[in-house]
Subunit: 699 residues, 2 copies
């Protein structure tokens, strides 16, 4: 159902309107009136005939027509009745401001659920309860007690916290920042963050979707939809509670490395969502996205009237990983021909402390012409001859004439540049507190451009033996076993096209030597016990055994020593396995996030994964591109490519392994965690081997 | 010579005072008058009798007394004459505002040098030229055209850029931030950044020294003095131009990894200087350092009236590496006994949206009592019942009663919290734009506390054979050779107490096999040529040779292949060397920074140093603590300690190696760059081996 009636209702009833100043019912009514709302307003209040000049009705049915939107402020126990009235009248959109529901405990939760049930049956959409309300600039609607109507602007905002929304509104007002609309979503009993993001995506007045969230409902649907919407409009989110939320104890490497923070980071990366760390940063980003064209690339030029400030900006460009634009010869010549001799015509372009508006205008115009410039940061420091307002006008004029590249301004100072900042705001040139902040914003824009330019995601499906895996998992689940043993883990790997090492279980030293003779030397011995997860920690792995004698010795030593270390472990024998061809050991892993599903992991294997934590995560299902990007996102990628005379390994084969694992865990949601470790990869053209795997399953 | 006359002169002459508004000579004179300066002001101007009610003198000698401070604004060509007049009169302190000296080229530079010469002879100290002047709050002195007199405060500021200083003054004014003094240091012809930092250290009105610098004069003296001063007062610096300044091409690993940025980072770390990335951040830090006690540790508690904001702060605490305080049982009980049932009595403490000042006062008081709390971040969001000003008063009152722990406030919003922010400023409780910014400030304070708590630096001196090294270096320098060959590099290592592998040079395959027989197998072969720096890149290293036959084969293959790859290389033979006992390969290095001297480097050896760049730098000479801290600052430190069943290596021995290298490069400033790579370290108690070294020298 459309949320359009929340954006531009023709009439609004305020149930619980009050004539007492300070009461929420008064605040909302007066906000409705003072915002200049042009539809009909119906205050509903049993004990008043008139409030603020408007006729008051004892209840909804007395109005005599159907209000398109109803705002509910009455105490919690009356709310269900109001919803029933709405159902009778045919009102389809309700904002419940009232608190005292899910957030106060079980009783409130039940009441909230009952309200939603009634509403759903009647086709009513509800925003709230426990929220500040809704503000929409284009329809002059301020059905909230969050604050005064802000300026109109291109940003649509949704907030899960009323307090944050109030702070945001107040800060925005002081900084002259505008909004298309603001939604306080409260308990999200019915309309949730995704509904509103979708509505804002469809809203022609919204250029940028921004929000503050504390939790996300259906992770998978959110990712899918947000990804689609990000291609149309940028989504800027503050998400709190990332780092502190404790990840549940995990037995796999992947699990222990992936906190819930990682899941959110993966989700944001996949969906193209731009994450913001603070209100200030969100405003910084939103301003530019709402008013400036996207940069074509990462090449930034700095225009300044003070060398020091220019260098600060240059430093920031390098720190942010953007490109310090190398100006074309022609640009330098044009600048040099007209600027004073002492000016710097290379990036950062310094038009000198005595620059008047004409110099800024000229230089900016020349820089915008240069094809090696993707974006311009214009700095101004207040010096003796500086004309801040006139310079801002010159910048705005030039920007208007050449509107293809983003221009971000940073007028340093306060009262001396105030008039200039005002001109910039009116001309919709974003102004920043520091060169740092302007450059960080350009970085966010460049990242977004890069994300948008990705080819369409195509997930390859490999032919696999799905039934085989199904039967192994079913058997385990029926027994109530959570961990799949090494032998059956190998069968699962093979069913999904992974090569695994040959080998068999021995229960005596002689048998071990026999198996080794058949495999050919060298071999590996591994203790075989369902109770021993970290074999090497107890001396349960011995590699590079070169003769029958060495195999016998290693077997007997394990049988002698390990039971002493782990007296309760049930030891089934020792696995005798061929040694893998030499190659790099990497780890392919998966950890299933309760919200966002399988998080794929890639990292260097062995000790490195633990010590360096040089790993990359991505949401399944993976495309080939994404699998390769995971490799490239690790620092050790260069080792895989080959360094200093060492040959590189088969990178495509690792990417394929990740895609096969992604397919496996996508097709079997019962798999909770999985590591293929080590996954041994050799020269290009050779077949990598999944030496060991740990798989845990759950119903 | 003391700079006191710049702080509190009894009389000031303004040479070049003007009656024309907009002229610098007018600005400075009127700034002097309007700031309420209580000493005598002597305007000097040939063509006026009186300006702004003050008697005007045609020249300095006509004043009839000796002005303590002279401010010079006349054109550059007249400045030398004024300095000569000052010398005659006995004035010892001069501020030269005038530009047109070193910054315009050779001619200006000569004039500037001549002025300094005359001044030095007369015992005159000069600030400038090419500066904005000086502001000192305590003596109501505004001898500048930087702007109006700011509020008095605890921060003393120096800036190498006039434009940045003007921006800083203007921003500070808008935010109600005060200063003890501000100095624009311009070309630093005489008084430089270090002179002023020392003067501010001695100034009783300055609690925090802050500055903006683009370059630093004598690096070594700066480090030494800044380190001393940081123990008394915090130094907060913005330093621009770090990342872009190209490091000169370097042949060693250490050199190529150490940009000039690294040198500054090392210098800041050693001297305890707190680096700031922007004006905003510098203000953030300065406010807290100037007004709050230092935290005893890293444990932070958050007090809030909105859950979401509290979580944002908690996230920031985790991101900044601070500790999220775990409150004492007693604290929780006390809070629970008096706060509403819905309040959260654990960190972050949430006193709820309807909290009035009393709840803030009570909770803050309880939290300040808790020994497991080192610092408090107080958040406030503007909600319906919020009383921002009264809450600020309650916070201020509590802070005054319990002044031992830092309290940082973040009132979110703008107009709705404005009155509260004003109260906070007056009570000297720093207020931040975001929880992020407050927490980042606490991190800077905690780092500073940690730096100050370090034990006194004691550099150990090892008994070494200094003469031996001297003769090798002298011989090379006399020949004009820059690189010291492997054989003599080994002699240098041995002279400074490093063990090196045994071995000799062979020129035939049989000779190589003979040497190997004597050393015992396995051995290593290395091509021996002054022209081949990266031996492994050309196949010039072969390890693990186990028999005479293998040695002969390897010898002949090198002799056949390498001349093809490097036809111009002069090959002297092949070094046959014992294999080192197995151990970890690390790299010890040094790169001499032109400003700050030897930068010591530690990192994992081999491929890792190149791929991961997991290295740590520190300024020589190193103490034992510092050497160990370098190890701990690498991610691979855990590998050295031993992981997953692998034994650890002798960490003390690596630290000793770093100290010996530090001593070597400190005693021989001719050594420009040096790598000991690999430095092979075995189990604790074994002797590490410096297998290879690269040393380059210069006069």
């Amino acid at each position: 159902m459309s949320l359009e009636s929340f954006f531009s209702p023709k009439s609004v009833a305020i149930v619980g309107a009050s004539r007492r100043k300070g009461k929420v019912g008064y605040e909302i009514l007066t906000n409705m009136i003072s915002s200049g709302y042009e539809g009909k307003i119906f205050p509903v209040n049993r004990s008043a005939d008139e409030i603020e000049g408007l006729t008051c009705y004892p209840d909804l049915s007395s109005i005599g027509e159907t209000p398109e939107l109803v705002v509910v402020i009455v105490p919690a126990r009356f709310v269900l009745g109001i919803i029933e009235d709405c159902a009778k009248l045919g009102t389809k959109s309700v904002i419940i401001i009232t608190a005292g529901f899910k957030e106060i405990g079980e009783e409130g939760k039940k009441l909230e659920e009952e309200i939603v049930r009634v509403a759903r049956r009647a086709g009513i959409r509800i925003i709230g309860p426990n929220c500040l309300g809704v503000i929409v600039s284009s329809s002059k609607l301020n059905a909230s007690f969050g604050g005064d109507m802000p300026k109109a602007g291109g940003t649509g905002y949704l907030s899960q916290s009323g307090a944050m929304l109030a702070a945001i509104l107040d800060t925005a007002k002081a900084n002259g920042i505008g909004f298309s609309s603001l939604f306080s979503i409260g308990n999200k009993a019915d309309v949730d963050e995704l509904d509103l993001i979708e509505a804002l995506a469809a809203d022609p007045n919204t250029k940028v979707i921004a929000g503050y969230l504390e939790s996300i409902g259906d992770g998978n649907e959110f990712v899918r939809e947000a990804e689609r919407i990000s291609h149309q409009k940028p989504i800027l989110l503050m998400k709190s509670g990332g780092t502190t939320a404790g990840a549940k104890a995990a037995s796999s490497h992947t699990g222990s490395l992936a906190g819930s923070e990682v899941a959110y980071e993966c989700m944001f990366a996949r969906a193209g969502i731009i994450r913001c760390d603070s209100i200030t940063q969100q405003f910084d980003f939103a301003q530019a996205f709402a008013s400036q064209p996207l940069p074509r690339g990462p090449k930034v030029v700095v225009l300044t009237n003070a060398g020091g400030a220019g260098i600060m900006a240059a430093d920031a460009i390098e720190r942010q990983g953007l490109t310090f634009a190398k100006l074309a010869e022609e640009t330098i010549d044009r600048l040099a021909a007209s600027l004073p001799a002492a000016a710097n015509c290379y990036n950062p372009v310094d038009v000198l402390g005595d620059a008047l508006p004409d110099r800024y205008e000229f230089a900016l115009d020349v820089l915008l012409d240069d094809p090696s410039v993707d974006a311009v940061v214009v700095l101004l420091t207040p010096q003796a001859m500086t004309q801040a307002a006139e310079t801002a006008e010159a910048i705005a004029k030039t920007a208007q004439a050449k509107p293809d590249k983003p221009i971000l301004a940073c007028f340093l100072g306060a009262s001396k540049v105030e008039a200039g900042v005002k001109v910039l705001r009116e001309a919709k040139i974003p102004q920043y507190e520091s060169p740092e902040a302007a450059v960080a914003t350009l970085r966010a824009m460049a990242d977004y451009v890069l994300w948008r330019s990705q080819p369409k995601r195509v997930v390859k499906l490999f032919p696999v033996n799905r039934r085989k895996v199904e039967s192994i998992i079913d058997r385990h689940l029926r027994k109530g076993a959570r961990e799949i043993g090494e032998a059956e883990s190998k069968e699962i790997l093979e069913a999904y096209g992974f090569a695994t090492p040959k080998g068999s279980i021995a229960t005596t030293a002689d048998q071990a030597a026999n198996i080794a003779d058949q495999l050919g030397y060298p071999v590996v011995l591994k203790i075989w016990s369902p109770d021993i997860l970290h074999k090497s920690d107890v001396g349960g792995v011995k590699v590079g055994l070169k003769s029958a004698q060495q195999v016998r010795d290693a077997f007997d030593l394990m049988m002698y020593r390990i039971p002493k270390k782990m007296p309760d472990a049930h030891i089934l024998g020792v696995l005798v396995q061929e040694m893998c061809a030499s190659g790099r050991e990497v780890i392919l892993g998966m950890h299933r996030d309760p919200h966002f599903g399988p998080l794929m992991m890639f990292g260097m294997g062995g000790v490195m994964v633990e010590v360096l934590k040089d790993v990359a995560f991505y949401l399944a299902p993976l495309t080939g591109d994404e699998a390769k990007r995971m490799l490239m996102n690790t620092k050790t990628y260069r080792i895989l490519q080959g360094v200093r005379g060492q040959e590189g390994v088969d990178i495509e084969a690792i990417a394929e392994g990740l895609q096969r694992l992604s397919q496996l865990v996508t097709e079997f949601p019962q798999i909770q965690e999985m590591d293929i470790n080590p996954y041994v990869v050799g020269l290009p053209g050779t077949t990598p081997i999944g030496v060991d795997a740990r798989i845990s399953v759950e119903k």
